[in-house]
Amino acid sequence: MSLCFAPCPRCQAEEQPAGGGFVPSDMLLSPQQSYSGSILQPACSPAAPSQLGYVDGFDEEPPLLEELGINFEHIWQKTLTVLNPMKPADGSIMNETDLTGPMVFCLALGATLLMAGKVHFGYVYGMSAIGCLAMHALLNLMSSQGVSHGCVASVLGYCLLPMVLLSSAAVLFSLQGTPGTVLALFIIGWCSLSASKIFTSALAMEGQQLLIAYPCALLYGLFALLTVF
């Protein structure tokens, strides 16, 4: 399984592998070496020289997480980007479709809702799916360049993290009063600002951040309704 999703300088600098090597040689030599490359593009590691036809033994297999494309370091970096809506985002965040982080956050939201006594896993997944479809349609209509389903799902999923904070607060005290409403509105604003910031920087729609923030706010408002009531 090749790790090269996009041509990157490291691959082009070194020799092209004969027969498309499966195992990057640096992983063989030093398994403790961490991922290299930028957080927003998976690292393209050079393949072993031609004496390796294909992977056979157990020792030469890549680690499971690497094979699945799950990179905790990248996920952590992207989470930090999302948590700070005031920091300008890098446009290249849309190049990689990573659904592991979003899945973890949806599960966390469901788990915190469960702790508050509500079993709403189905609602969370259903609303995420329909929301992704709707946002994908709207973004394709409003932007000059297209956007794929995976990117929209990835961005919306990452920006769901503040909602997990809201539902954790719902475990400790009821949100049905004025302070709860104010907190919910604040969290909705935080989520939608992060999401619209990433969308506008990736799709080059600078003047229209508010126009994208509003539908995101409506979507996250639905999640907030689920959390509060």
Binding site: A137, L138, N140, L141, M142, G207, Q208, L210, L211, Y214, P215, L218, G221, L222, L225, V228, F229
Partner: protein, 341 residues
């Protein structure tokens, strides 16, 4: 239909006896009519397997191109036997059906599901949307000159979704229970049904009354008219006073209705037509706001009436009325007991 048969016969020349047997089955041998009753139905003519069949046929063609055609085909023919050759014809027929079906489906999909036809209606700036929102509450004065309507769908769509969200919030705070369906489904159905349904109805009436308005313009006009509804419901779902709602209904709802009515009047000629169009729109728009308030907010009002009602006195013990007759019985019994003791 005999051509594929001939081609098939030409490709595998070795099992000639079986090919002859196939011809014997045809009525009036040598005619172009193929008796489908004698076709072996189990040899891959089912539509569901066509994908695999197509793939297999592609692989077969690739094998031919590499020059291993003869040996491969012979093995194929000998392996499948009689069924293989009869099935080949059926396979080709079904394959053609598959191709045609796929082509038609992709053409229909690209024609109807092409979302790009809506692209020009979403090309807006935030300042434009804000300006149009504010304008939707200001009735125009000049009705002799056709007023310009922005053919834009972003603002109306967002307003409809906002109305859905406000309705949902109102239903949740008032603990409304919908027995046949879900809260979300009801809210979305109501709002989108109103927007699309009343727009279509008004467009139809406008067509009858010869008004100059297109469907997109009607959708846009009615969508922006929902701004007044959003404001009214947002305020009155949180502050529960009947009189406040009626004031908002008249003022805010009335302003947005007046605006829509004025725009329509400016685009219609003739008094009767103007009356029909504007009367219908005004009635529907104002009644919808009344409906939204009363249908989804009853429970809260019921609770408030109970809380604000006259003070109920605490429960008092009231002596039971014992009739005179039983008093006499009681006295007689007491005397009888006293006598026996």
């Amino acid at each position: 239909m005999a051509a594929p048969g001939a081609a098939g016969g030409g490709r595998s020349g070795a099992p000639a006896a079986e090919w002859g047997g196939f011809e014997d089955n045809m009525q009036g041998g040598g005619s172009a009519v193929i008796d489908m009753e004698n076709m072996d139905d189990t040899s891959g003519s089912s539509f569901e397997d066509m994908g695999e069949m197509h793939q297999r046929m592609k692989e077969e063609e690739e094998e031919e191109a590499e020059g291993e055609a003869g040996a491969g085909e012979e093995e194929d023919g000998e392996f499948l036997g009689m069924k293989g050759l009869r099935g080949q014809l059926g396979r080709q027929v079904a394959d053609q059906m598959w191709q045609v079906g796929k082509r038609q489906a992709s053409r229909a999909f690209s024609l109807y599901a092409n979302i790009d036809i809506l692209r020009p209606y979403f090309d807006v700036e935030p300042v434009q949307v804000r300006a149009r929102l504010l304008e939707s509450m200001i009735p125009v004065k000049m009705i002799n000159f056709p007023q310009k309507i922005a053919g834009e769908l972003y603002g109306p769509l967002m307003l409809v979704f906002t109305l859905v969200a406000i309705l949902l919030h109102g239903m949740k705070t008032s603990d409304t229970i919908i027995r046949e369906g879900t809260l979300m489904g009801t809210a979305i159905g109501t709002c989108f049904g109103y927007w699309l349904g009343v727009s279509s109805f008004m467009y139809f009436l406008a067509y009858l009354c010869n008004a100059q308005i297109t469907m997109v313009q009607m959708l846009s006009l009615l969508g922006y008219g929902l701004f007044g509804h959003c404001i009214t419901l947002f305020v009155t779902y949180n502050i529960h006073f009947h009189s406040l709602f009626y004031i908002f209904w008249l003022v805010v709802g009335g302003l947005s209705t007046l605006r829509m009515v004025a725009v329509l009047v400016s685009r219609t000629v003739g008094h009767t037509q103007r009356l029909i169009l504007c009367g219908t729109l005004a009635a529907l728009h104002m009644l919808f706001l009344l409906y939204l308030h009363f249908a989804y907010h009853k429970v809260v009002e019921g609770i408030l009436d109970t809380l604000e009602g006259p003070n109920v006195p605490p429960f008092q013990r009231v002596a039971r009325d014992i009739p005179v007759v039983s008093n006499a019985v009681l006295n007689t019994t007491a005397k009888a007991i006293a006598l026996t003791l």
